[in-house]
């Protein structure tokens, strides 16, 4: 019964999406793009500029912004690179939700007005471009690389391979999908109130290396996150996991890392493994 309902709901959603797309296709539809403008070097105030952009059913928000930059106002500052949700450069707040502009189709968005703003929790450099310095500092503080005292990295002749089973990989796999786009960091209410809080991305990466059986620096990583402004300041709002464009669940990583710290959870790696398998199925 539940399966039938789910199929029916999915079909209705598909029909709705098709209907929405067919209204865009070939109809010469125009959307109104509201773009946040600010240049802190010249003026502290900000405003929105409005543009009319012709769209097709495949047009993404990044395409629309590049249309504006190419034909209407070349002074708009946007950060982008791969255009395929791999580099994590084009994160911005689109109609109030942190998303990747290259991964958000205009047809997915309800309404005819699309508002683009810079990501919250990042100081604005100009227009839609935020300063990621603090974000990357927090990421770097987690020592996001393998520590292993038994491996001789000086003498290349003594290098050995790390043996890992597929099960070992699944312990941390989903957390390694992170592209450092900063959407989770911008959605986190704790980051908004506590600038020294590392944020969901950095904490999930800390768990990613703790769960990796090649790494032997678990205790030192736990010491890094175990402080007054560390992992305990997460209030488990869960918005980080909701906005992640790669399906990573940073909130899960944070809770599993907490379990490690208080020795409440002994099965965290099994949990992460099963959640990663579930992610693969969906």
């Amino acid at each position: 019964m539940t399966a039938l309902l789910s199929i029916k709901t999915r079909r209705m959603k598909l029909e709705r999406d098709e209907k929405k797309e067919s209204t865009l296709e070939g109809s010469g539809k125009v959307v109104h793009l509201r773009v946040y403008r600010k240049n802190p070097k010249q003026d502290k105030s900000s405003h929105f500029d409005k543009f009319e952009v012709p769209v097709q059913r495949w047009t993404t928000v990044l395409d629309a912004l590049l249309h504006v930059k190419g034909y209407l106002d070349k002074s708009i500052a946007i950060r982008y690179s791969c255009r395929m949700a791999s580099c994590g450069s084009c994160g911005m707040k689109i109609n109030g939700i942190p998303r990747l502009a290259c991964y958000t189709k205009i047809s997915e968005i309800d309404g005819n007005i699309i508002t683009c703003e810079p990501l919250p929790n990042f100081p604005v450099i100009r227009d839609l471009v935020g300063d990621f310095s603090d974000f990357f500092d927090h990421h770097g503080a987690m020592e996001p690389y393998i520590h292993n005292q038994n491996v001789d990295i000086v003498d290349k002749n003594r290098l050995t391979e790390f043996i890992q089973t597929p099960e070992n990989v699944e312990n941390y796999l989903q957390f390694s999908y992170c592209i450092k786009c900063g959407l989770c960091y911008s959605a986190c209410p704790s980051v908004g109130s506590d600038t020294r809080f590392p944020g969901p991305q950095a904490l999930a990466q800390a768990y990613r290396y703790v769960a990796d059986n090649r790494d032997d620096a678990t205790q030192s990583r736990l010491n890094i996150v175990d402080n007054k402004h560390g992992i305990w300041r997460c209030h488990f709002a869960g918005s980080c996991s909701v906005v992640c464009p790669k399906g990573v669940d940073p909130a899960l990583g944070i809770q599993l890392l907490r379990g490690h710290l208080v020795n409440f959870s002994k099965n965290d790696k099994k949990l992460a493994e099963s959640r990663t398998r579930d992610l693969g199925k969906t």
């Binding site: 506590d194 736990l222 175990d226 007054k228 402004h229 300041r233 208080v262």
Partner: protein, 115 residues
Amino acid sequence: MILKESQIMKIHYITGIAALFVVAVHIIMRLVMPFSMSLEYENVIANYQNIAYAVLLESILVLIAIHGFNGLRIILIEFRQNIAWENGVTVFTLVAMIALIAYGTRTIIVANGLG
């Protein structure tokens, strides 16, 4: 002795769960007679004079004070990020917690008739 944040949070969780249990017992004890009668002066004093109940009240006081003031410390620490503020908040909540426990314990002792 400086506790690590994880040790403080472990105490926070344990006191929270334990407080749930003792407060539940405390509320259930109000229901052994009509509620309004349970709050009459003689009945309240009788509760304090029962040693087992006095111990229960003391444990509620200690558990809730530790849990509550640590919760307040967590909220206040998020307001500002500097060492002076953090140390001030820690000292303030510790002193307030000890003062509340001392005053509450004195009340329990006096009402119990030991004082």
